[in-house]
């Protein structure tokens, strides 16, 4: 399978990429590792007229420890996050989940920025970002702005980036405490049928859900129950609240909501709830 024709240009800097995006508008797409975009293009589900390759912007590949948060460059590959000593020490749930995405070959190419800006509700990393209460730093023609992870995922495959903006950094609060990550798949390399992540944060316990609606979700009802002192088994009963999962041959709506409760309970138990 070969994608439809497009023009390819390699951007030498973030500013150059923003300039190209401004010039070409919605016809242009950013290309990082390409492991979300290229499969869609090969199936002709996406046919951008221009690809702006930002994959070589090494200055956007890093995991750094700041005073209150861990900063991850948008072009940091899943493999590098999984191996990063900084991530392992100060954002261990992020390192672990990055190491569970797809397979080794995918993790050698896929990037955190690509995965998050793709906005796929079945992706693992957005749920982690929501559970941790992360922030996204985006850069456009008028400079940089920060977007709360909870305001980033708008609808099915739609995120809060304007057509000329580039996601440059992902920030997560430092969290060396306990966490739990549970993903139900038929095979190791598969996307999650349902997934759940729980993290102990300074504000309490954050809980994120994978593939439980058109967007990555935060299990707010579960979080509130935990804050009020509910045990894992009781709080997890609320995991289906506010969800709107798809039904397919891997699971009905009722099945996914059942699995969400089971996985949320297991994840909560791992953080000592």
């Amino acid at each position: 399978m070969i994608p439809a024709s497009f023009d390819y240009v390699r951007a030498g800097s973030v500013d150059e990429a923003i300039g190209l995006l401004s010039e070409h508008g919605e016809d242009a797409k950013l290309l990082a590792g390409g492991h979300s975009l290229l499969p869609l293009m090969k199936l002709r589900l996406a046919q951008p007229a221009m690809l702006i390759d930002i994959g070589r912007l090494r200055e956007l590949s890093y995991v750094k420890e700041e005073k209150e948060y861990v900063a991850v460059g948008a072009l940091t590959r899943h493999h590098d996050i999984a191996q990063s000593p900084v991530a392992l020490a100060s954002a261990p749930v992020l390192a672990h989940v990055a190491g569970q995405i797809g397979d080794p070959q995918v993790r050698h190419r896929g990037t955190i920025g690509g995965s998050i800006s793709h906005g796929d509700p079945a992706s693992d990393l957005p749920a982690v970002l929501l559970a941790l209460g992360g922030t996204l730093v985006v850069q456009g023609p008028n400079g940089r702005r920060e977007i709360d992870a909870k305001d980033f995922f708008l609808s099915f495959f739609e995120v809060a980036l304007t057509p000329e903006e580039v996601l440059v950094e992902v920030r997560v609060p430092r969290s060396s405490g306990q966490w739990g990550f549970e993903k139900l798949t038929k095979r190791a390399q598969d996307w999650a049928i349902v997934g759940a992540v729980a993290v102990k944060t300074s504000d309490g316990v954050g809980v994120g859900l994978i593939n439980m609606g058109p967007v990555p979700l935060r299990a707010s009802a579960v979080e509130a129950a935990v804050t009020s002192g509910a045990k894992a088994i009781d709080a997890a009963q609320l995991a289906g609240e506010g969800t709107d999962p798809a039904a397919d041959f891997n699971g009905s709506v009722a099945y996914r909501q059942h699995v969400a409760k089971v996985l949320v309970r297991r994840a909560l138990e791992k953080v000592g709830v």
Partner: protein, 157 residues
């Protein structure tokens, strides 16, 4: 567009369409057909090559993305005198293949895996091969091949 890269140590320069996938560049432009196209959907791993020493699925990388990079395919594994690379030799010793279609990808994936984890357990190998599918062998002898290769002195130099 002109796409230059190094393939098995040899500089290559070919004029290809922007939408050319790395696997098609290797097979059609360079003429190295050892890298197979299997599923074409990033699932099966038959097209696995090393990009700057790390395993990637060449059906999901544009040739243009790899411009300037160092690619190793199955043809670049054996020594010049024909001596097999330790992973290839282990496949021969352990009968690690039947039809052979997945084998080039398996060899490349295992080579990358052993570089990252030189002393893997059986479990490490099984998890490390999650992205490479084989219909014939049931994986038993492929996993054995990876473990035998990991004990080769050449892999630890």
């Amino acid at each position: 567009m002109k796409v230059d890269m190094t393939v098995n140590g040899t500089p290559e320069s070919h004029d290809v369409a922007a939408r050319t996938l790395l696997v098609d560049y290797l097979r059609d432009a360079v003429g190295l057909t050892g890298t197979n196209i299997g599923c074409d959907t990033t699932s099966c791993g038959a097209c696995t090559v090393l990009l700057n020493g790390e395993s990637v699925k060449s059906c999901t990388v544009l040739a243009a993305q790899a411009a300037g990079d160092d690619i190793t395919t199955i043809e670049g594994m054996a020594h010049e005198d024909g001596t097999l690379h330790p992973v290839q030799a282990a496949f021969q010793e352990c009968h690690g293949l039947q039809c052979g279609y997945c084998t080039p990808g398996m060899v490349m994936a295992i080579t990358s895996l052993l570089k990252e984890n030189p002393e893997p357990t059986e479990e490490d190998v099984r998890v490390g091969l999650e992205g490479n599918l084989c219909r014939c062998t049931g994986y038993h002898n492929i996993v054995a091949s990876a473990l035998v290769a990991s004990r080769s002195p050449e892999m630890h130099r």
